[in-house]
């Protein structure tokens, strides 16, 4: 909705930033007048002035426009390690006609995801171990050939989809001595067929979310799978990480959406023989694939559920007097199983942040109305502006049902002191999802670094985990010598029958620190420990990668790790898929 769709092409490098998030033409900056502005034409916020952002940044982080930390503007190829090429592999690959490259820029672009330390290093023009070459298979059979050759010549293969990983999953293991090939699936981006009788679509795994939706929409369908990264992340990546979509309440998470998977492994191709909607045939082999994080093979084709496009969509928002009431309301909504397509609850700090991102109002009338709303909520209803919080809602379906559903949810909200706060606030909330990643780049221009991380947790723990993790972040920052109070905020982004998904956002001004990334990592590590100690999971949908590997054993038990290991040992005895994620 918020994005002007465009097919991202294979290389990507021209229209995408090489050392930051998203499109090269879209970014936040402070203009000559010192006002914040979002450039480009792609998003609703594009081309707009955001008057509150400067004050918010200065107030929240103690940031100062005079103190800049600009990124290295150009990628200097000489700083990139020369490629270690496996001659025999290269020769045979050439004979297949599959495109490849060992250009430094192509290699650097596929050497990272979007963890803070990865982007920070890029901005400083520092590159560690990067892939030695990139290949662009065009179809399933190409992948089969590449993997066969890799096995034959003992080359390490790291599958690459959209590059939006935030678990260090794309990082090349520095200890890897073999030639590393980045297998970029971006050319495998076709919808192969749509089955309207069974409502399924067979899709190549390299397709990115926005293209998949746009192409299906042309036929009147959608998958409804909308992770926050959907502009750039790929279907294969979703499968490999067990992704979750914003609208999972209607459409389900990736594991609910997938009907059939084809994956190429060193042992051969794994797939099921039919498309029955459910099977009792031993442990589901899809569950070895989903979440395997590129350690077993490359997902090449996926059959997915599709749905007719919804007739009607409506945003909404509710203001609660405090976070506790908000969580209680979400819990009740989950209990009654009437959650809208999406329901998210921001805490007070995030509400303020959202407020700071309000674009300049064009008419006096709207600003007057805004003032009136604020007055009503804070003065008339007695909400404390430093405690209130907001839930954003998205309803989908046929018009009548949406309106009915909406009433049901607002009625529940009212029982918890919630006040309807309009469509506009809701819509802006979801728009922020897409631009928040751009904002991190702006922060990094002014000594502010940050990141988000997520977990899932039973309902009775939600409040406790939110409070404790936020407090832990603040304490750790203080203990580690961070000079300014950090931003430590959270939101509940998904509801389930028995629990919720919680996102934490954390950022701080690093002026005065000699190794800010290390401090950042220590704090994030402590925050994860706190999450685990409070009954939260290691990850709800980001995955484990290499960033969270150390906790896998505690998470799934020794036997669990042994099971996963034995699968890896059978499927990939020579560790061809050697990204060393997960285990």
């Amino acid at each position: 909705e918020c994005v002007e769709w465009e097919v991202t092409d294979g290389g990507g490098s021209e229209i995408m930033k090489w050392n930051g998030w998203g499109y090269s033409d879209s970014k936040f900056l402070f203009n000559k007048k010192g006002q914040a502005e979002f450039t480009g034409k792609r998003y609703r916020l594009s081309g707009m002035i955001i008057p509150g952002l400067k004050d918010w940044m200065e107030g929240t982080f103690g940031a100062n426009l005079q103190h800049k930390t600009p990124a290295t503007p150009l990628l200097t190829s000489s700083a990139v390690q020369p490629a270690t090429l496996n001659k025999a592999f290269l020769e045979e690959l050439k004979s297949t006609g599959i495109p490849f490259s060992h250009d430094a820029e192509d290699r650097v672009f596929r050497a990272h995801g979007h963890c803070l330390h990865e982007i920070f290093a890029l901005r400083e023009g520092k590159f560690g171990r990067v892939p030695d070459m990139v290949v662009w298979p065009n179809c399933h059979n190409d992948v089969v050939k590449i993997v066969e050759l890799a096995c034959k010549h003992n080359v390490c293969v790291i599958p690459y989809g959209g590059g939006t990983s935030v678990s260090s999953a794309l990082e090349c293991p520095p200890e890897e001595t073999r030639s590393i090939v980045s297998l970029d699936t971006s050319q495998m981006n076709r919808i192969l067929w749509i089955d309207e009788k069974n409502l399924t679509a067979h899709v190549e795994a390299g397709i990115v979310g926005q293209d998949l939706e746009r192409l299906l929409n042309e036929s009147g369908y959608c998958t409804g799978h909308e992770p926050d990264s959907m502009e750039f992340s790929s279907l294969g990546g979703w499968v490999a990480t067990r992704a979750s979509g914003m609208k999972k309440n209607i459409y389900g998470n990736i594991e609910d959406l997938v009907i059939h998977i084809r994956m190429v492994t060193p042992r051969g191709v794994i797939e099921k023989s039919c498309q029955g909607p459910r099977m009792s045939t031993g442990p589901d082999i899809h569950h070895f694939i989903m979440g395997s994080e590129g350690t077993l093979g490359v997902v090449t084709e996926v059959t997915m559920k599709i749905r007719p496009m919804p007739e009607y969509q409506k945003y909404g928002s509710v203001v609660f007097p405090n976070f506790e009431q908000g969580v209680a309301c979400l819990r009740e909504v989950a209990k009654q199983r009437c959650a809208p397509a999406s329901i998210r609850l921001m805490d007070n700090e995030q509400f303020k942040f959202g407020h700071a991102l309000k674009p300049q109002v064009s008419s006096i009338f709207t600003s007057f109305l805004d003032g009136l709303k604020t007055f009503y909520i804070t003065k008339f209803k007695g909400f404390d502006p430093n405690r209130l919080c907001v839930a954003t809602l998205l309803f989908e379906g046929d018009r009548e049902k949406v309106l009915q559903h909406e009433k049901q949810v607002y009625d529940i909200a009212a029982k918890f002191g919630g006040l309807a706060a309009g469509e506009d606030n809701g819509q802006r909330g979801y728009m922020l999802t897409f631009v928040i990643a751009y904002l991190r780049d702006l922060g990094m221009d002014y000594y502010v670094i940050g990141e988000s991380f997520e977990t899932s947790v039973p309902w009775d723990r939600v409040l406790d985990i939110c409070r404790n993790v936020k407090a832990r972040i603040i304490q750790e920052c203080k203990d580690k010598g961070v000079q300014f109070p950090p931003l430590s905020t959270c939101r509940v982004t998904q509801t389930y029958d028995t629990g919720a998904c919680v996102y934490f956002y954390f950022a701080f001004n690093y002026r005065g620190l000699s190794d800010p990334v290390h401090v950042y990592e220590q704090v994030e590590h402590a925050a994860r420990e706190e999450i685990l100690a409070n009954g939260g999971s290691l990850s709800h949908h980001h995955g484990v990668g290499k960033l969270r590997k150390e906790w896998m054993r505690d998470t799934v038990s020794n036997v669990g790790v042994g099971m996963l290991k034995s699968v890896k040992d059978y499927v990939d005895p020579d560790n061809i898929f050697g990204n060393r994620n997960l285990l």
Partner: protein
């Protein structure tokens, strides 16, 4: 381990706050105005204080209590409503109903009483400021030492004075027996718990939920006595773990981010219950708490009890205590409201923490010169008895020894209040005059005030002597924690068959183990204690440590002799205990006559109780059920 052991490295470096006398202002301004003044304490996260009735309903509606009510109802076949009513009655019996008017009444009367009884009540105001800070950050648990009935009124009085949120205090049910007073205490923030409720699930559940609700929501600091009861001997008692377990639970289960535990050390120059305790320990039973009894105690009002020092220690974060000790994930798989026995990991964590906290209390106990004098006089008294010399010590000799001991205490890191600007002889004589009930100066000699020849029977005479000795011993005990470890080492050196380090260590370890019911010795810290003892003796030049051996130096002889004789009464107590059990003859008094017992202290029921527990623990005796 960190926060204590690091401090122990060099006790001289211990930084302690200064004191302010809070009675001074009371002597100069109106008590009435003080009692009626505006009282607006800061609260945890700016919360509004909670009405007692609201608190009760929160407890009764809690998941934990619901669960237990259901369980009890299923097990006993009683209707759930019926059980619920019982729970409600338990809560009614237990709950405090803090009222500001009662607090004001106490503020007024206690001002009057305190001014009559005490010369000063000194409080470290920096500690108060830290407490105030701590209260705003996290829920707070106050852990005062317990030497007198006065303690908890005194605590509330201080907090009221400094405009700090008044605590709710766990008190034993026996107080409730004092009709009017019990209710008064309840209205000043006390809540009452039965002394024993072993198997009563429902009672435990109401009780723990009540405490946790107050704590979690930060409505008021929770105060209780880690030692469980007043120490009659001025020795810290082995900590009781029940309540500590309860207050740590919300942190361990993630219900609060952290809890601040504040050890408070209350030191009395003269304990109100001095003689009472001694009699109690000699087997004259403890009088039942009664209102009329309290009035009879009025005569204490006419005496001088010196000063009180109250030291609010550094708040201890439960989170940092538990760091790396407790895996909180153990609560992930069972709903948190279902009561479970604490795991072994948690039990040992709580136990260790309790010891640490008691030691933190001990460290900040203010010792008056009298503690040194009592120690010296007792040693002298025992020697006289055996040697049949002239009784008592020459005043000058006592003063000289006291100065020697003062310096040693200081080097050991004792929190000694010895006025350096006053000549030692004056310090000593003013100390002696405050304790004239226990000591007297006769022909230039200072002796314990043990009467001779006045009483009818020898038993009575012995008893009255014992009262004096035990009273003095309790003052000596105030300083026990300072020299305990070096004294154990000194005794170990004496007992060991050679100077070999290992040998001395073994004997140290044996003694330490034997005395672990008697003194506060953290479980599992034998090596640290041994090292600390060595460190202190080496530092003071009493000991030389080589690769293999521990050698007492020339000038160390005096120190070692002193330290050893400090432990002697206890050692003999344990020996007697052993002999007794061999002889099956419980008549102790008779044993004393032939002069076979040097130490009247052995008569103390406290010592007997501890030694029996130790012998049972060590397997030297067995309990046979009749």
């Amino acid at each position: 381990m960190m926060f204590l052991s690091l401090q122990h490295r060099d006790p001289m470096l211990k930084k302690r706050d200064d004191f302010e006398d809070m009675l001074e202002e009371r002597r100069n301004s109106s008590d009435l105005r003080y009692a009626l003044r505006c009282y607006t304490p800061v609260l945890y996260k700016g919360l509004a204080p909670c009405k007692a009735s609201m608190l009760k309903s929160m407890v009764l509606q809690s998941d934990q209590l619901h669960h237990v009510i259901g369980q009890v109802s299923r097990e006993t076949g009683r209707a759930a409503d019926d059980v619920q009513e019982e729970a409600s009655a338990i809560l009614e019996e237990m709950a405090h109903c803090l009222q500001l008017s009662t607090v004001r009444f106490f503020a007024f009367t206690l001002s009057k009483v305190f001014k009559t009884l005490f010369r000063s009540i000194c409080v470290n105001e920096e500690g108060i400021q830290r407490l105030q800070q701590a209260i705003q950050e996290h829920p707070v648990v106050l852990l005062p030492s317990h030497r007198s009935y006065m303690d908890f009124l005194l605590m509330s009085y201080i907090l009221y004075t400094y405009d700090i949120a008044l605590p709710v205090i766990a008190a034993g049910m026996d107080f409730m027996g004092m009709k009017f007073v019990g209710e008064m205490l309840r209205m000043s923030g006390a809540f009452f718990i039965r002394r024993s409720f072993g198997g009563d699930k429902l009672y435990w559940s109401v009780f723990s939920e009540y405490v946790k609700t107050m704590l979690k929501n930060g409505f008021a600091p929770v105060e209780f006595f880690l030692e469980g009861t007043r120490s009659r001997t001025s020795k810290s008692l082995t900590p009781k773990l029940g309540l500590l377990n309860i207050v740590m639970d919300p942190y361990l289960k993630g219900e609060v981010y952290d809890i601040n535990v504040v050890p408070v050390s209350i030191s009395y120059e003269r304990i109100l219950e001095e003689a009472l305790y001694a009699r109690e320990m000699l087997g004259v039973p403890k009088p039942k708490e009664s209102t009329s009894g309290l009035f009879k105690a009025r005569k204490v009002l006419s005496e001088d009890y010196g000063s009180i020092h109250v030291y609010f220690g550094q708040p201890v974060s439960v989170r940092s205590l538990a760091q790396g000790r407790v895996n909180r994930c153990q609560f992930n798989l069972v709903p948190r409201h279902i009561p479970r026995r604490p795991s072994e990991e948690i039990q040992s964590f709580v136990n260790d923490s309790a010891y640490r906290l008691v030691r933190a209390q001990e460290e900040n106990m203010v010792l008056k010169p009298w503690v040194l004098l009592a120690s010296l006089l007792l040693q002298n008294h025992h020697q006289d008895q055996t040697a049949g010399q002239k009784r008592g010590m020459v005043l000058e000799e006592l003063t000289a020894q006291a100065v020697w001991l003062r310096d040693m205490f200081r080097e050991y890191g004792a929190f000694l209040h010895w006025p350096d600007h006053v000549p030692p002889s004056e310090v000593v004589s003013s100390s002696l005059s405050l304790h004239r009930g226990l000591v007297r100066v006769c022909e230039g000699r200072v002796q314990l005030a043990v009467e001779q020849g006045f009483t009818v029977t020898p038993e009575e005479e012995l008893l009255s002597q014992a009262v004096i000795v035990l009273s003095c011993a309790s003052y000596r005990n105030q300083g026990l924690h300072v020299f305990l470890r070096p004294a154990l080492l000194a005794s170990a050196i004496n007992a060991a068959s050679s100077n070999l380090k290992q040998e001395v260590f073994n004997s140290f370890s044996f003694l330490r183990n034997m005395f672990s019911n008697e003194f506060i010795l953290c479980p599992g810290a034998t090596v640290q204690d041994f090292e600390e003892a060595c460190y202190l003796l080496v530092k003071t030049g009493a000991l030389q440590v080589t690769q293999q051996e521990l050698l007492v130096t020339e000038r160390g002889q005096r120190t070692v002799a002193f330290l050893t004789s400090m432990l002697d009464p206890f050692l003999q107590g344990y020996q007697v205990r052993e002999t007794l059990y061999k002889m099956f003859s419980p008549c102790l008094v008779r044993l004393c006559f032939p002069g076979r017992l040097r130490y009247t202290e052995v008569l103390s029921s406290d010592l007997q109780k501890n030694s029996l527990a130790a012998l049972l623990r060590l397997g030297a005796v067995q309990k046979i059920k009749a």
